[in-house]
Amino acid sequence: MDRITNKKRDLKSMNDNGTLLSVRDLSTHFFTEEGVVKAVQDVGFSIKRGRTFALVGESGCGKTVTALSIMRLVPAPQGRIAGGEIVLEGKNLLELSERRMREVRGHKIAMIFQEHRSSLNPVHTVGSQIAEAVKLHQKRSSREAWTDAVEMLRNAGIADAAERAREYPHQFSGGMCQRVMIAMAVSCEPALLIADEPTTALDVTIQGRILDLLDELQRENGMSILLITHDLGIVAQRADDVAVMYASRIVESADSQRLFAKPLHPYTQGLWESLPRLGFSGRRLRTIPGVVPEPLRFPAGCKFHPRCPKGRSDRRCQSIEPELREVEAGRCVACWHARGYESTL
């Protein structure tokens, strides 16, 4: 408990809205036999302390690769971070040695994954898997680490934590596995928790509880959360800031209130309109025509133009890719047709 209160005081003393992590011009490429897959291109955003930042987009748009790049866990040897900076508390993670990076992983930045069950090792007890991280980063004895692990499981809402710590992942339900993953991730009180589609594979009722758990832990520990999801409902409820990704690039970013009030990019608008809302019964939901382009066959110009109501007939959209520009304070968009976009230069 002491550690938590100390940390809270530390947080207070610091600038509350200080930046914890900033990603600048990140590009991550995969070198495959068919060619170079540019999964992430010139992505930049920053995450404030104690806040939740959501990265939204359809599957395959590069969200997960962005997260893995931050952890420097892009699957080698095909995957490589081609450029950019990832600055955590003033240090560029891309310049750290592998040994120093290991001290960051699990300790400063922890990550939970969408595949909650397979992300746990089937042949070790859940308790030992949590204790392993505690032992490594908090320099504790095995027994202390185990006690901590049980405590973490209890905090994550697992009943009979002491007994259940001795069980194996296959004895847990899907939602329980995700709780175990969360317990493992927050066991070393990370400054940043990356949650990659944390609730996608879960029932709706359990989704809410898992997100509540994350909120609660965030309030206790004051950690920042990078929430990766395709579910706009979750974003609207939980995120402070949002970036929308499409085909390897960020196309729009803002704080969530402004973004939801008035999306600027046609893609974001399309996503919004495809969302069911109260009071709009009787009207069919709109869909975005077409499919996400494959990374090896990205269209020229703006990558969204073949699916965009404006871009389909606009020469400029078809030939020149718009970069992400700040159109209002704290509000960025990458679209030739967005209001105020051209006057920013």
Partner: protein, 312 residues
């Protein structure tokens, strides 16, 4: 657990029955009357009749309590396999051969497993690099060279030309000296296929989600490999090992033949050459029993390694 083992042992009954039926049909019914061959050329009808009496060949094949079929079963279940062509008890021959065979195959087996698993861990660690490609090429080359070439190379160069090892089995030497070169050859020949197999197993495991989690915790690659990957990889490793163990008792046909090691492989080759059905049938029966037993042991091992497997 106990009930599981008992149930599994009951399943073995029809398998053993099938094996005995097959060996009976092959070696007694189809193999036919061997008394003339045993008696040799120019033997009198009297001698042949005596032999027929002694080997029980006068009894009916199937009908009656004293039929050859029932006797075949009774003998097998009591491990009484009768006499070989040279009139020695088959069971004595087998007992004599087991020692040298195991002296050859057991060190060979463990050396191959230990070296191949360690190498495959190292290769999994550097996978995708030039070292990995190099290792795979060497493995495939090793697999492609016929076993006989390994034997001939070893015997000609290492033993004959350079005199590092005895060329042929000799009872004056210790067993260790006698089997040193055959073991070395066996290991060299076996490594290629085994390293390649275990490498695939390791890489399979390396690609799993829990490995990513382990790295995300900040564990070192070494710890991830030894604590997380190896324990999961044990499941296919145990399968492969358990399937190989019955063969250890059968010895190595080629190595024993080439180096004159008086083991079970040698015994088998000789028995086949001499149409010594009682020996062949006994060896077949014994190896079938080993297979059944080790299959059971494999399943028990699974439950020890993998918490998801329970034997109830």
């Amino acid at each position: 657990m106990t009930t599981y083992i008992i149930r599994r042992l009951l399943y073995c009954v029809p398998i053993v029955f099938g094996v005995l039926l097959l060996t009976f049909v092959l070696f007694v019914v189809i193999g036919g009357d061997i008394s003339i061959e045993i008696a040799g050329k120019g033997a009198s009808q009297e001698t042949i009749d005596e032999i027929r009496e002694e080997y029980g060949l006068n009894e009916p094949l199937f009908l009656g309590w004293d039929s050859q079929f029932i006797n075949h079963f009774k003998n097998a279940l009591t491990f009484d396999f009768g006499r070989a062509r040279d009139r020695e008890l088959v069971i004595d021959k087998i007992k004599r051969g087991v020692g040298p065979s195991l002296a050859l195959t057991v060190p060979m087996f463990f050396a191959v497993v230990v070296i191949a698993v360690s190498l495959s861990l190292v290769i999994a660690f550097v996978h995708g690099s030039m070292w990995d490609i190099f290792a795979v090429v060497v493995c495939i080359a090793g697999m492609s060279v016929p076993f006989l070439s390994f034997i001939l190379f070893g015997q000609y160069f290492l033993a004959y030309k350079w005199g590092l090892f005895p060329i042929f089995f000799s009872s004056d030497l210790t067993m260790a000296q006698n089997v040193a070169l055959p073991v070395l050859i066996g290991v060299a020949a076996g490594l290629g296929g085994n390293v390649r197999f275990y490498r695939t197993v390791m890489l399979d495991e390396m690609g799993r989600d829990y490995v990513r989690t382990a790295f995300a915790k900040g564990l070192s690659a070494r710890r991830v490999l030894f604590k997380h990957v190896l324990k999961n990889a044990l499941i296919p490793i145990i399968t492969r090992m358990a399937m190989a163990i019955p063969f250890l008792f059968l010895g190595s046909l080629l190595l024993e033949r080439f180096f004159g090691i008086p083991g079970l492989g040698y015994l088998m080759v000789e028995a086949i050459g001499a149409r010594d059905y009682s020996v062949i049938s006994a060896m077949t029966y014994i190896s079938a029993i080993f297979f059944v037993v080790f299959n059971l042991i494999t399943d028990i091992c699974y439950s020890l390694v993998d918490p998801r497997v329970s034997l109830e």
